[in-house]
């Protein structure tokens, strides 16, 4: 019943919470929420609430890029965040979330990985980006991606003393080159909308996640949902995502 009502509203261009179709819910960005992490941010968009913490560690580089630091992004659908989530290893959706956020950071060349090399082929910095969900009310990818970028921007690298990490001394910031902003556009019938709630997500036909750079270039995309898109719809969704990414960018 509720499902049908939400559907009908959206088809007529309205939303349960009174927003316009292309309007975000309230966005709150808190940084340095986790003092013990090298970087952290908590982002709330509406009732969706996500913390990202960054830990820096030393590691051996991948053999094919011996002079680059490493990025490892993890996401858990923590069971505190939603009655549908269960404890256990990440499922398909949590894996996709982590990989899509990772892709936005990686493909935008957000971090100058070459500056994170300590000894080529032997030792580089590894950044662990961990996405921790506090409450799930839709649009997990946009919120997670925003929290990840906000946390990376605040991350300070611990000092090395005799080759060992001293986390009580954090000094230099991470070498940030670019800032990707991810906006997911949903489609229902002939309408496009952004920032869907969990209820709205259940009635969408399809979604397109678009990660956008400062200069308007796209650096990652991911279609989702169980209906197809026409070429023209795809174009319009990309354009809307780019436009809305500029609004979000101002908040950082």
């Amino acid at each position: 019943m509720r499902h049908d009502y939400v559907l009908k509203l959206l088809e007529s261009g309205e939303r349960l919470d009174g927003r316009k179709l292309d309007e975000f819910r309230d966005i709150k960005i808190e940084v340095d929420t986790i003092e013990r992490a090298e970087g952290s941010a908590r982002v709330k968009i509406g009732k969706t609430d996500i913390i990202v913490g960054i830990k820096m560690d030393l590691g051996e580089p991948f053999p094919d890029v011996p002079n680059q630091g490493m990025l490892r992004t993890g996401a858990e659908f923590s069971p505190i965040a939603s009655p549908e989530f269960n404890p256990g290893p990440p499922g398909e959706d949590a894996t996709e979330l982590a990989r899509v956020v990772d892709r936005g950071i990686r493909e935008s060349e957000c971090i100058d990985l070459e500056k994170l090399c300590l000894k080529p082929g032997e030792q580089v910095w590894t950044m662990f980006v961990d996405i921790h969900m506090m409450n799930h009310d839709g649009n997990l990818i946009d919120v997670s991606a925003l929290a990840a970028v906000a946390a990376l921007m605040r991350t300070k690298m611990p000092e090395l003393e005799d080759g060992k990490i001293n986390r009580e001394k954090l000094k230099e910031k991470l070498p940030i080159k670019h800032i990707p902003i991810t906006v997911t556009v949903g489609k229902i019938s002939d309408k496009f909308l952004i920032d869907p709630t969990k209820e709205e997500e259940q009635v969408l036909d399809s979604k397109l996640m678009v990660a956008v750079m400062e200069d308007g270039k796209i650096c990652a995309m991911q279609k989702s949902g169980d209906q197809g898109l026409s070429e023209e719809e795809t174009s319009r969704m990309i354009d809307l995502a780019i436009k809305k990414s500029k609004e979000i960018r101002k908040l950082l």
Partner: protein, 238 residues
Amino acid sequence: MGMKSKEKMIVEGKRLDGRTPDEIREIEMKVGVIPNANGSARVSFGRTTAVAAVYGPRILHPRRLQEPDTAIIRCRYNMAPFSVDERIRPGSSRREKEISKVTRLALEPALFLEKYPETVIDIYIEIIQADGSTRVTGINAASLALADAGAPMRDLVVGLAGGKLDDTIIIDLCGKEDNYSVADIPIAFLPRKNEITLLQMDGQLNPDEVKTIVKNVLNAGKKVYEKQKEALKKKYHK
């Protein structure tokens, strides 16, 4: 992506393997390759080979997972341990999990699932050999396997990747091109209505480039569509 080549990858309009930018590698498609399956197919694009098998529809157990008004699709994309340079340890990686999901979503819009309530249709895709564009090759194989199984379908599903290499828009990236490309866009679509059911992107492109690549892939994909139909015809006329 991420790796930069010191040399040009496209020289005088020719790619590493001699192809023009809009040329697809040699395609081989064959249905009915796995006698035990309800439907199956093998598809190669150059050295990339995928085998797909469909089992079902069959009753889903345990019962509480059944859907009363539709069949459920389960999809597994798997790389054979010997399909690439460095042996892959068995067990689903995060990459394989993600591709399994987007492949399922790429195929579902083509199927009339409501015809088989309470059942499951299992789609297994094995990448026997990998040289780029493995997920779209897998989708082509799965599309043929579903048709071979007699699943009621709105249309076949065509998979093809596009991208940008040096300054050139290309299609059907091989492994090396994938590594050194500026961007890579794997796409799946239902050709009859040009409905896009898989769209991913890695790399950096301005929006117009993205749109051009999507258009190119939808066009070039028609050839893949013809190959699929040929392969199905061969099955009945031999």
